[in-house]
Amino acid sequence: MYVAAVFLPLIGALIAGMIAFAAQGAVKADDKERKKRLDRASQLITCGAMLLAALSAILVFVSVVVNGQNGTVELFTWVDSGSLEFSWALRGDTLAVLMVTMVTVVSSMIHIYSIGYMSHDNAVPRFMGYLSLFTFFMLMLVSANNLVQMFFGWEGVGLASYLLIGFWYDRASANAAAIKAFVVNRIGDFGFALGIFATFFLFDSISFDTIFSLASGKSTATMNVFSGEFHALTVICLLLFVGAMGKSAQLGLHVWLPDAMEGPTPVSALIHAATMVTAGVFMVARMSPLFEYSDVALTVVVLVGASTAIFASTVACVQNDIKRVIAYSTCSQLGYMFFALGVSAYSAGMFHLITHAFFKALLFLGAGSVIHAMSDEQDMRKMGGLYKLIPATYILMWIGSLALAGIWPFSGFFSKDIILEAAYGAHTGIGQYAFWLGITAAFLTAFYSWRLIIMTFHGTSRADEKTLAHVHESPKVMILPLVVLAIGALFVGILSVDYFVGEHTVEFWKNSIFVLDTHKALENAHHVPLWVKALPLVAGVGGISLAYLMYMFAPELPGALAAGFQRTYQFLLHKWYFDELYDKIFIKPAFYLGRGLWKAGDGLLIDGVGPDGIAAAVRVLARRAAAIQSGFLYHYAFAMLLGVAALITWFLVKGA
């Protein structure tokens, strides 16, 4: 069952890939009928495989979580080199199967949605194949039983993300974004890889079962790395966390995520909202038995998470591209998840991961529905007044936004609340930092969500005639998956809060998450003062009210504010100038250096002194030597005389 859940998407992807080549042939032969049939076949096969996978995943979930069976499946040995030995395997604990279930369910909804969304595209089979391929890698990532298989999935989703961001490969901007995503993720992977090496160095193993059981024994071990003696688990956790920061777009390594919106919208929903970007969160939760022993690493996680939450939400408030607003929102919500992990409330972080997957995918697909209706327009300044034209989308966007803003009884309310309460309940300085930034970010989240809704759906339309005439509600095949996700956004929180973080949390998670007894943030979260419990909701309602005030009732206010605080506005609009900075200190110098080393290093120095230099020197010497042979007798006689004189002198000096 488990194997089916993971490998069905791969099979779907391979078949779709073959169909893609056949379809190319049909295009060449100008056989429209055949092309259509092939497109249809690829959609049916990938969606069918995904739905079957989702069904299998649910069955596995039931058997593992409800019936308490161990679902681990060993496949075969991957690498066996001395003590370094690991297998391909699927891990069957709550954390893994929970993710597998979420990924397959959300992914199958997005597959179905794509049938409608991509209907005008001329490379449907390729798109469906990529989506399924991505899903396969994501499943390998979350079901890994050792660090290297996780890394396999980790890099694999990076590849799929690269392919999907650059799906429309004619666009220069899409290609640039795709490369940026891959390379920035590689920087994170650099940390992840070193973390794996360090883990092997310390534990002589990289299999989860082994390292988790050894962790407590190594809790005070030190490691001699980078010319110093450091606390071993801190080194490992920090290195792994660099990987998590790359994949989950945390402050510093977040620059690829907004650009990744160049990809088709279903991609943004699947990869850059619901699944791949949460891999970092999942990884930290998975490695909780190690992180628990390193207070330094946990503090860093909180610091980075909370800072990202506030950074991204400030930027989201001024963006005009509908997808970019949601992208920054994702970045900010990931920040929440991280600081939850950092205060040892792993289950709260995972809870938010799951609820977020539903409502954020809903928001993205809703945005996609808007873009679809607006003939591919993404700029909210050219929208407005759409609620009458596309009412279903409008309602669904409301549901998603209410969940995102954390309004009762939507899913986001439960998960965001418990995170903020846990941050408060940590009773540490860094916990307070996270709590207050989190509250501010919650306010901003509500604000930009309603800014989006009002700019898109209310007021007078700012679109041109032609676009307006085209506006239409999306077909059923797109709305239906949205409804499923909306149901998730409505009920997942209220129905599962007791299991994730409430009464039944121990039976639910079993041993898949490890928390030290001394880390009581989650327990304390249930006993915080009333104002702490109420504050997130107040912040949310406040944000919504402010958005109404600024964009509905006093629409001149935003412009005036932007003009009044020009510096701040520009700073936010340019996303805190991260891209400009990186371009100056990394990208330009790398190319400059590459050219310099090539021309000056290889060309002038090595070749100039080495082979070419020697060749030139030999040529010069030969010419000089040739010049001596002038053919004049007196030249030779003179040279002989000099020689004789020199010899005599030498003998005389030596004799004396």
């Binding site: 040995t77 690498v79 290297v148 694999g156 220069a172 490369i179 590689r186 080393l597 080495g610």
Partner: protein, 505 residues
Amino acid sequence: MMTNFPWLSVITFAPLVGVFFILLIRGDEETTARNARGIALWTSVVTFFVSLGIWVNFDNSTAAFQFVEKVVWMPGLNLAYHLGVDGISMFFVILSTLLTVICIVASWVAITDRVKEYMIAFLVLETLMVGMFSSLDIMLFYVFFEGVLIPMFIIIGVWGGPRRNYAAYKLFLYTLAGSVLMLLAILTMMSEAGTAEIPKLLKYDFAPTLQPWLWLAFFASFAVKVPMWPVHTWLPDAHVEAPTAGSVILAGVLLKFGGYGFLRFSLPMFPLASADFTPLIFTLSVIAVIYTSLVALAQEDMKKLIAYSSVAHMGFVTIGTFAGNLQGIEGAIIQMLSHGVVSAALFLVVGVVYDRIHSRDIDAYGGLVHRMPKYALIFMVFMMASVGLPGTSGFVGEFLILVGAFKANTWVAAFTTTGVILGAAYMLYLYRRVIFGELTKENLKTILDVNAREVAIFAPLLLIVFVMGIYPSLFLDVMHVSVENLVDRYQSALAAAQHISAVAK
């Protein structure tokens, strides 16, 4: 099992039988060319399948040399015709025979001039390569090692591009300069140990004072072959001027001579010197990885870019080798095999479009995916293998090397890992400029996708890339015992030396 069958001699000299028949061909130019191609192909295919026999019959449980053949050659000088392979060298023999087949098929239509001589050159080259990897007599090894230069020099010098003379001489002089010193060292070793047999030399303890000199002499030769920074500049020129198949053999097999040499001679025969010079190797290799990756980023010529990436990848190999532990060395061997396949494939990938458009400039291309989707897919797979994506052969090698390096020196591991980031940058940047974008250039609008012959070339390489990536045990199991033996020998020599110096104090 056919234990008495002279496997290695057959594999080594079968190509020369083909050469003999090619020499017999008479007739007009076209028939000569056709027959020469046919004979060369048959010879190389048969040789390849015979060479698989040594894998099938290989005994994984021993570190000793297998399929040993020994005939006294010059008894006065103590020289013998002595062949055999162990877990370290066995795969290189198969790599050589496989790539020769690929080269001959790849040259099927690209070479129209002096086909007969061309095929002879490749078959002779095959004999020399296989002989090099299976020699168990150090003098015989030297003969093969140096002999390879001659056909390679001819292939570049005759069938190469416009600056072929410069490139051919550069290759020749660079490598010759190194190997003269190696010859001196070999003579010293023979007189010191009184034998030319590699198995005996492997067990002989050279005096600690002599080791550094011998090590340096071998280093001079191997470093040029690898090539290590800063003696790498012959490689981009040689690749750029060489015909496609020449590049394939050069990147696929010839660069492995250096890495193989370090493993066969430097490490086990001069363990103390190797340990002393490890910082030097690490420094040069780390520079190679970062320096050449940056240079690759700035390239405008496809072949040059891949040539520079080769230098970077071989930097990983030297790091793994001198990490001196099991993971590092197994990683180095896997990386060499993987690089042999992947870089060869990448040069073939360039060759496909070069055959059609006759340009290696990256700017001459763009948007090829519109006309050549199959080509785009093949290129993508090898690109991903080159950047070391898990699931491909490139990952296993790099990963094992870095694990080994991390044990030896964390700084080295960290610096080397940055090469992985830069590697992704220059390969993706190349791919984007060649494959993606709109198809605007007039001469590309009629370009054809890969044909059946080209698919047949790539298919086995694709298969190897995935098998090695997903189930590397197939390869690791074979080399395990031999590498373990090597590591034991190396570590115990170091421990013994430490013991002596501790006692002396």
